[in-house]
């Protein structure tokens, strides 16, 4: 019996090792990559329909996914200690670039977000999506947790400086996401509940004050979120049309490439920020639920990986990256279904365009590096 057991165990180990050995050699996590790949493929199928069967769109998206995959593979192999040591530099460079954008940035779509490096246009705010949580985790790494009051002040400055710079571009969506990524680090570090409550109160006051500094279109978005019917052909149009798309999809959907809202251009930004509504229209509630399940799986796996990491920097950073991913999903889906105001947040791995896919996969690369290098880390 014992032999039997050993034999079967070793046989099982052998069969596993084929794929597992490659994965562990690459320092990546199989289930997580599988989840991400499934979402990406699903996204490509939807995008083909949403873009009006545009092959160039698909090709460009595949290229970006591949670029992101490369970034993920490379970052997964980087030693977290190295990553931690370079974090302050990354952060400083990021802030510097944001200032550069504000001064010489390329103006696109009415907002100043891009920095032209000659051969490539680069969005420093994308870099900050990673640099801010890394910086927060770096700061808290050596300090006892939960963070002291002084630490909180310092962390607030570390977060608010880039958030402010991005917000004035203006790119409220990305600014919010950067802020969320930083705040999530602090929350995971054990921020006291009473402090959180106090901060929420402060945020409310800040929103009230911030109203005065908002651009007209930003205010309009908030107002039309409260009542889309006030401006059905203007700012409310997006929300109304996306709800019609989702609602008319029903349980089973109208079928792939058969969504009239999407195919006849009623749905604005159908291949970018509002692609969720296309899924709702063409694949119905079943299709949307499938996507949400995939997102939940990826998030859950990422949180699991974060819990397995062994030092503070890794834990906080991995936790933040995992939760930020879900925040993206929730904000986008909430906006498209009319639960949240319209903010320019893409649906991760599905929305077309931008370099956010690369950033996102790079983040997952870092997360996997933090997990897979854990035995090498001295704690």
């Amino acid at each position: 019996m014992i032999y039997e057991e050993v034999n079967s165990e070793s046989r099982a180990r052998r069969t596993l090792t084929g794929a597992a050995r490659i994965l562990s050699a690459l320092k990546i996590d199989g289930p997580l990559v599988t989840g991400l790949a499934l979402i990406s493929v699903y996204g490509l199928i939807v995008l083909y329909s949403a873009s009006g069967q545009s092959i160039p769109t698909i090709v460009r998206t595949v290229m970006r996914l591949l670029l992101g995959a490369v970034a993920m593979l490379v970052l997964a192999r980087v030693n977290p200690n190295f990553l931690r040591r370079t974090t302050p530099w990354l952060y400083v460079i990021g802030v510097f670039l944001l200032v550069a954008v504000a001064v010489f940035g390329h103006i696109g779509l009415g907002a100043q977000r891009w920095l032209s490096l000659g051969f490539i246009k680069f969005q420093p705010s994308e870099l900050m999506k990673l640099a801010v949580p890394m910086m927060c985790a770096w700061y808290l790494h050596e300090r006892p947790l939960p963070p002291s009051f002084l630490s909180l002040i310092l962390l607030s400055v570390l977060i608010l400086v880039p958030v402010g710079l991005v917000a004035v571009e203006p790119d409220l969506g990305t600014a919010a996401l950067i802020g969320v990524a930083g705040v999530l680090v602090i929350v995971m570090a054990g921020l006291q509940v009473r402090v959180m409550a106090a901060l929420l109160g402060l945020a409310a006051v800040g929103a009230w004050v911030g109203w005065d500094f908002m651009h007209d279109y930003q205010r309009k978005r908030v107002l039309t979120f409260i009542d889309p019917q006030t401006d059905p052909l203007g700012a409310g149009y997006h929300i109304i049309q996306s709800q019609i798309a989702i609602g008319s999809g029903g349980i089973f959907g109208k079928g792939w490439m058969n969504g009239s809202q999407a195919q006849l251009d009623f749905l604005p930004e159908r291949s970018t920020d509002f692609i969720f509504a296309v899924i709702g229209e063409e694949f119905g509630m079943l299709g949307v639920s499938l996507l949400l399940v995939l997102y939940m799986f990826v998030t859950a796996r990422a949180i699991y990986l974060a819990m397995q990491t062994q030092d503070t920097f890794a834990r906080l950073l991995a936790g933040s990256l995992a939760l930020t991913f879900f925040v993206y999903v929730f904000i986008n889906a909430g906006m498209v279904t009319g639960l949240l105001p319209v903010v320019g947040v893409p649906l991760p791995l599905v929305s077309y365009g931008g370099t956010s896919v690369v950033t996102l996969l790079a983040g997952f690369g870092i997360l996997m590096a933090l997990y897979s290098h854990r035995k090498l880390v001295s704690s």
Binding site: E142, R143, P144, L145, P146, S148, V187, M188, A189, G190, Q243, I244, A245, I246, G247, S248, G249, G250, I251, K254, G255, M257, N258, G259, S260, Q261, Q263, L264, D265, F266, G280, G284, M285, V288, S289, L292, M296, T299, A300, I303, A306, M307, T312, R315, L316, G319, L323, F326, F330, A333, G334, T337, G338, L339, S379
Partner: protein, 670 residues
């Protein structure tokens, strides 16, 4: 270790795990919130959103019905439809309306003066309605727009059927015209029924018979994208698209006899005035002319402000329908009616000679009423007094009868009231009476005014249509019909629905003998050597009864005051002539008015004669058998073979018309 300076790795790990679990729970909760929202949208409110999405992509597009034709009594096409390019604009597809209109003006496609009106019209329609800017473009304009088409999103060329008037001015004051639907029109039409219709009847038969002519527009549902453009794509999201075919408008058959109308217009020449010819046996208006006229096509293709100004400010008033709206003193044409009034009231012995010394004094007055043109007539009985138009005879007769009886007797002839013709705009004229004068002028009636009424001067005002009707009442010996322009409607299946003639109450109290003696006097006017019109119209192959009239130009129209200054030419008298023939069994009654043409007989009676010739005489120069008593009534339009004729054939100048131009078949019968 609270607030310790030393890191507690196990504690931190626990704290993190705890927070991760809370986060996980929160994530599950939020996902359920999302799923709940999706359930609400996709299951609970699915029907509502499904309907909205259906409404989003299906739009109904009207299919205009083709407008009914207008035919003359013989079935010749007088008005039809013709394809034309029109320039149209859809507001919701135009990025900047003001700029677009400005640039179209710069291309000379819009008259700058029309800009405000066009803009107003566009803004009064729904934003997705397509509004015609110009109803008919010339080839050159089409080319000019085509080159710049891409600069004008929301502006396009479209083929539409437009109204075509093959004979131009001919009969325009009877036919009327169509024009672009104006804001005023929108107030009294069913907007839904007119969606897709560009033209609406504005005047004449086109306006009065708008309803049958218009027909019923159809519609079709089209699949559109968010920009409202039609998309062809079929697939699972192509819903069932419904379509309802339009029902073409009914054809309107006129009482107008096209050859007679043509003759009437041509012989009228450059005079201003009107001709109305009526069939006394049924009230059919055989010809209706008001000169000068205008080309109705300019309204159908969209009249520009300057064109309209040229028409409306013309001193000759081409837009003014003199036949229905021009009110003039009747002049001596009243004399037969005054005679009948005397006979009916037994105040006149028709065979007794009365002496005309060329002047008449009211008993006990020194105010002289003088003979008009012919000095003194000597002894005259009634027929000769009518034939020679002796004013003194009728001064005396009118004074004898008295104004109250005259007014009461004349009213049933249609003086002072509308004839009830089936097109709009008619004026009632004035039948004066003491009661009327009290009401209007708040003054008493003077006996001298009665004397003036005896020769058709003074307050009495009539329209040419009214006098044609009076002529037809006399021709019918008291029996008359309401004048009408439309005798039948022909529906889409080609079935003819005849409209029965409407008979007026007969004139009471006049014996056959009375009628005969008055008609004898009217025959005398045209065929006795002393008759006022003898020199101009004698020798017809039928018996013609007529009466000349000369209206002094103190009042050209009711709205012009007595003191109005006029040019010399316009101070000349208006020439009247009323007539009917054949006198024994009349088939046509005519009234001719020529403004400022001097003595009535000279200008007007030859015109009347040619009109009567054109209608009554066949190619052999004899009265057409169908118009003789016992002849089959010429009343089957379209049944007669219509021979093609060239418009503008020179008309026979001889006394006997050899071959009246036959009904012209219009080229395009769409």
């Amino acid at each position: 270790m609270p607030a310790g300076r030393i890191k507690d790795h196990w504690g931190e790990q626990r704290l993190f795990d705890q927070r991760s679990l809370i986060a996980g729970v929160l994530i599950v909760l939020l996902t359920f919130v999302l799923l709940g929202r999706l359930y609400l949208l996709q299951v609970v409110r699915h029907d509502y959103y499904a309907e909205l999405s259906q409404g989003n992509r299906v739009r109904t597009e009207p299919i205009p019905a083709s407008r009914g034709l207008i035919l003359d009594r013989n079935g010749s096409v007088m008005v039809n439809n013709e394809p034309a390019y029109q320039l149209e604009l859809t507001r919701e597809q135009v990025p900047d309306l003001n700029d677009t209109l400005k640039r179209l003006t710069a291309l000379n496609l819009i008259d700058p003066e029309d800009l405000d009106g066009i803009k107003h019209m566009i803004l009064s329609r729904r934003s997705f309605d397509t509004v015609p800017l110009r109803l008919r473009l010339t080839d050159e304009e089409i080319g000019r727009f085509a080159v710049h088409r891409f600069e004008f999103p929301g502006v396009d060329l479209a083929t539409r059927q437009t109204r075509h008037y093959p004979f131009g001015e001919l009969g325009v004051h009877a036919l009327g015209y169509v024009g672009a639907i104006s804001e005023q029109d929108l107030d009294h039409i069913d907007r839904a029924a007119y969606a897709g219709t560009a033209l609406i009847g504005k005047l004449g038969v086109e306006a009065s018979y708008e309803k049958p002519l218009h027909g019923q527009n159809g519609y079709r549902e089209i699949l559109v994208n968010a920009q409202g453009r039609s998309v062809e794509r079929q697939g699972a999201y192509a819903p069932e698209l419904r379509a309802v075919a339009p029902t073409a408008g009914e054809d309107v058959v006129l009482s107008i006899d096209l050859p007679t109308q043509k003759v009437a217009e041509e012989v009228f020449g450059d005079h201003r005035g009107a001709v109305v010819a009526i069939d006394p046996t049924n009230g059919d208006v055989l010809a209706l002319v008001s000169k000068p006229g205008f080309d109705p096509s300019i309204f159908a293709r969209g009249v520009t402000r300057s064109e309209y100004a040229a028409l409306s400010q013309n001193i000759d008033k081409p837009l003014f329908n003199r036949a229905l709206r021009g009110t003039y003193p009747s002049g001596s044409t009243i004399k037969p009616v005054i005679s009948l009034a005397g006979l009916a009231n037994h105040m006149l012995d028709p065979h007794k000679d009365e002496f005309c010394a060329g002047v008449y004094y009211l008993p006990g007055s020194r105010l002289a009423f003088r003979e008009g043109k012919f000095g003194r007539h000597g002894n005259l009985d009634l027929p000769h007094a009518i034939a020679r138009s002796c004013d003194v005879y009728f001064y005396r007769l009118a004074a004898t009868i008295g104004i109250d009886k005259i007014a009461a007797f004349m009213a049933p002839f249609g003086y002072g009231s509308l004839t009830g013709i089936d097109i709009g705009g008619e004026k009632p004229g004035v039948l004066p009476s003491p009661e009327w004068k009290r009401r209007v002028y708040k003054q008493a009636w003077y006996p001298g005014e009665t004397v003036n009424v005896g020769i058709g001067q003074g307050y009495l005002l009539v329209t040419p249509l009214q006098l044609a009707h009076v002529a037809s009442v006399i021709a019918g010996r008291g029996k008359s019909y309401r004048p009408r322009l439309v005798t039948a409607l022909r529906d889409v299946n080609g079935e003819l629905h005849k409209l029965p003639p409407i008979e007026n109450p007969s004139i009471q109290g006049v014996t056959d003998e009375d009628w005969n003696i008055v008609i004898e006097g009217m025959i005398g006017a045209t065929s006795w050597p002393g008759g006022t019109a003898y020199a101009f119209v004698h020798g017809t192959p039928y018996t013609m009864a007529g009466k000349t009239g000369t209206a002094e130009v103190v009042t050209v129209g009711r709205n012009q005051s007595l003191t109005a200054k006029k040019t010399d030419e316009r101070l000349k008298d208006h020439a009247w002539f009323i007539a009917f023939a054949p006198a024994e069994a009349p088939r046509i009654a005519v009234a001719v008015l020529a403004e400022n043409a001097g003595f009535g007989a000279t200008t007007s009676s030859p015109i009347a004669r040619k009109v009567i010739d054109a209608y009554l005489l066949g190619p052999d120069g004899k009265v057409k058998p169908s118009l003789l008593p016992g002849g089959s009534p010429a009343e089957s339009p379209a049944a007669k073979p219509a021979e093609p004729a060239q418009p503008g054939v020179p008309l026979p100048e001889q006394k006997q018309a050899e071959s009246p131009p036959t009904s012209a078949q219009a080229h395009k019968q769409s």
